[in-house]
């Protein structure tokens, strides 16, 4: 593995251009063509959200968009399946707590 990053040697797959992406206010490495889930996992972020009733952490599970566990808030949009959403430069990702409304508080406090 390359250093502390979950990215492996590319072996025939050329990554896209680097992207500026932040998670809960912190910048992480990302490349065009990666899904949000992949970028999060590569950065060592594995708890993508906490559940509504028991506030338990959940993350990437099925990888194909059916389990709806990998949900994060993307640019203010809640319940986005990170395994299907591609990163974009300037994207602001937040780990999701329960179910959010569209009008998110700017401070990040809930």
């Amino acid at each position: 593995m390359n250093g502390s990053d979950g990215r492996l040697p590319a072996h025939g797959l050329e990554r896209g251009a680097p992207c500026d992406v932040e998670v809960d206010g912190v910048a992480i490495r990302a490349f065009e063509g990666e899904t949000v889930a992949a970028a999060l996992l590569a950065a060592g972020v594995r708890a993508f959200r906490t559940t509504a009733k028991r506030a338990e952490p959940r993350g990437f599970f099925c990888g194909i968009g059916i389990c709806h566990e990998c949900l994060v808030v993307v640019d203010g949009r809640p319940s986005v399946r990170s395994c299907l959403e591609n990163v974009r430069s300037g994207m602001r990702i937040r780990t999701q707590r329960g179910w959010f409304s569209k009008a998110e508080p700017a401070s990040g406090a809930d």
């Binding site: 492996l8 797959l13 063509g33 594995r46 959940r58 990888g63 194909i64 389990c67």
Partner: protein
């Protein structure tokens, strides 16, 4: 190669035209069906929810990444690319990024987020919806770090990302070997590989030899995977399963145990493995939601992954005009899926009167022969990797079974014990199955709990009422003004 997906906007898509054939699913079965049907001149609309064709096994790298066309990720890459090219060149109408969420009498409900939806009327439909990873329920399975082997495999294959530093892969069957070996080849840090079934003995090998005709490449691959695992110090640990995942907020260790021939943990054999990722590779469940919605008769076959549509030798289901092919009818691998897809495309052509019965037989013959060969291999593998009933008995009362609605096994059992046979009652009382995954991850385990209570097999308890949408659909996409219906009155 980076494939462009065809765009389709409601304004341009003519939903009024009746399609001769709609193929749901762009994996090997759907691609093959499209090619064969187009060969007969049948009008075909091929629909897939992903941005590019190929399904899971032929999954293409995302736009933005470039794949070196000379690099072979695996044995499936080139045949996959050639099937995709042939389908694209066939003249079929191809709708990617488009989910099929309902099916009524061959009227196919589609949705392309964010704002497009429509109803396509078809004379015939081929369901080739594929399969998804079998969810296995045990304490701690909801912890971040527990994921499906298919999910990890896709991360690796299309994005070269490893989700952890010490990966345990637990499961069973030939796919387990393939996933594990490919992960290792790409440099993923695999700590251990667990196979639930016992080490194949002489009888198993002789069965495999007996099935070798036409299947040498697959067998060679399998041996290659085994050798790779051995070489890297992670040979499969036979007769072992994960019984628990533990950690504060994410996986920090996995508790594994030896199992008997029915995959039931042997008391006193538990031990802890310090891993941060658990990949579940216990095979696949066929996606049968659309088949059930349309009223197809199904039967239960554990080793095919569960309920599968009953079909005749020509891939026809029990519903007129609805055919089905591929892993969505019982997991058999991509080659079988392709062969079945070819048969389905030929049958659709025959049933549409485009080819004669004689020509249909002629075109079908090589694919039938291939299916027979593959069938022998599948029978041999099933004997080795038979799914043990213990797979459903790893839950404890506190285990969360319905992940979406956070419903424990204890709550489900309390509802089961009210004595009702009706699965909808258990669902109504506990909310298990009401969440965003629409029961895909929990309903088999709930059925197993009901079956255990009644003392019958998992496949013998009644199914939940099939309902559309089979995918969540955005209101903004499907909302349609039907003012007359909206103001209609029934009585005073």
């Amino acid at each position: 190669m980076v494939l462009e997906s065809r765009t389709c906007v409601r304004g341009r898509l003519n939903t009024r035209r009746v399609r001769e054939l709609v193929v749901v699913g762009g994996g090997p079965a759907g691609l093959a069906a499209t090619i064969e049907a187009r060969r007969s001149g049948l009008g075909v609309t091929l629909i897939d929810e992903r941005p590019s064709l190929g399904g899971q096994i032929f999954r293409q790298p995302p736009a933005g990444m470039r794949q070196d066309p000379t690099y072979r990720t695996d044995r499936y890459h080139r045949p996959g690319c050639s099937l995709i090219s042939a389908a694209e060149a066939s003249g079929a109408e191809i709708l990617t990024g488009t989910a099929v969420w309902g099916l009524w009498d061959r009227k196919v409900a589609i949705c392309r987020e964010p704002n497009d939806a429509g109803l396509l009327e078809a004379t015939q439909v081929i369901l080739a919806a594929g399969a998804y990873d079998r969810p296995v329920v045990f304490p701690g399975w909801t912890l971040p770090g527990v994921m499906t082997a298919g999910g990890i495999h896709t991360l690796m294959k299309t994005q070269r990302i490893a989700p952890g530093r010490r990966i345990l892969i637990a499961g069973s069957g030939p796919l387990l070997l393939m996933f594990a070996a490919q992960l290792i080849r790409h440099g993923a840090p695999v700590s251990a590989v667990l196979e639930a079934s016992p080490r194949p003995g002489l009888r198993a090998f002789s069965r495999l030899v007996g099935a070798a005709w036409g299947n040498l490449a697959v067998l060679r691959d399998g041996l290659g995977y085994l050798a790779e695992l051995s070489r890297r110090g992670v040979p499969p640990l036979y007769s072992h399963v994960v019984v628990r995942a533990e950690g504060a907020g994410q996986v920090e260790r996995a508790i594994v145990a030896r199992v008997d021939g029915r995959w039931r943990p042997v008391p006193g054999t538990e031990r802890a493995l310090e891993v941060d990722t658990v990949a579940l590779g216990y095979g696949l469940f066929p996606s049968v939601e659309l088949a059930l919605l349309s009223g197809c008769t199904v039967r239960y076959a554990e080793d095919l992954g569960g309920h599968v549509p009953v079909r005749d030798a020509w891939m026809r289901t029990t519903v007129r005009g609805v055919l089905a092919a591929g892993d969505g009818c019982g997991v058999g691998g991509s080659e079988a899926a392709e062969a079945e897809g070819r048969l389905a495309g030929i049958t659709a052509s025959l049933d549409a009167g485009r080819i004669t019965a004689v020509e249909a037989d002629r075109r079908a013959a090589p694919f039938r022969a291939r299916l027979r060969q593959l069938g022998r291999l599948r029978a041999a593998l099933t004997a080795i990797y038979r799914v043990g009933s213990g797979i459903y008995d790893l839950v404890t009362p506190e285990t969360i079974v319905c992940r979406c609605e956070e419903v424990s096994a204890a709550a489900i059992l309390a509802a089961v014990r009210t004595g009702s046979d009706d699965p909808n009652v258990v669902k109504g009382l506990t909310r298990a199955g009401m969440g965003l995954c629409q029961g895909k991850e929990c309903s088999r385990q709930v059925a197993a709990l009901r079956a255990r209570h009644r003392g019958v097999g998992v496949g013998e308890v009644p199914l939940l009422t099939p309902r559309s949408p089979v995918r969540p659909v955005r209101i903004g996409a499907i909302a349609e003004d039907r003012s007359d219906d909206a103001t209609a009155d029934v009585t005073g």
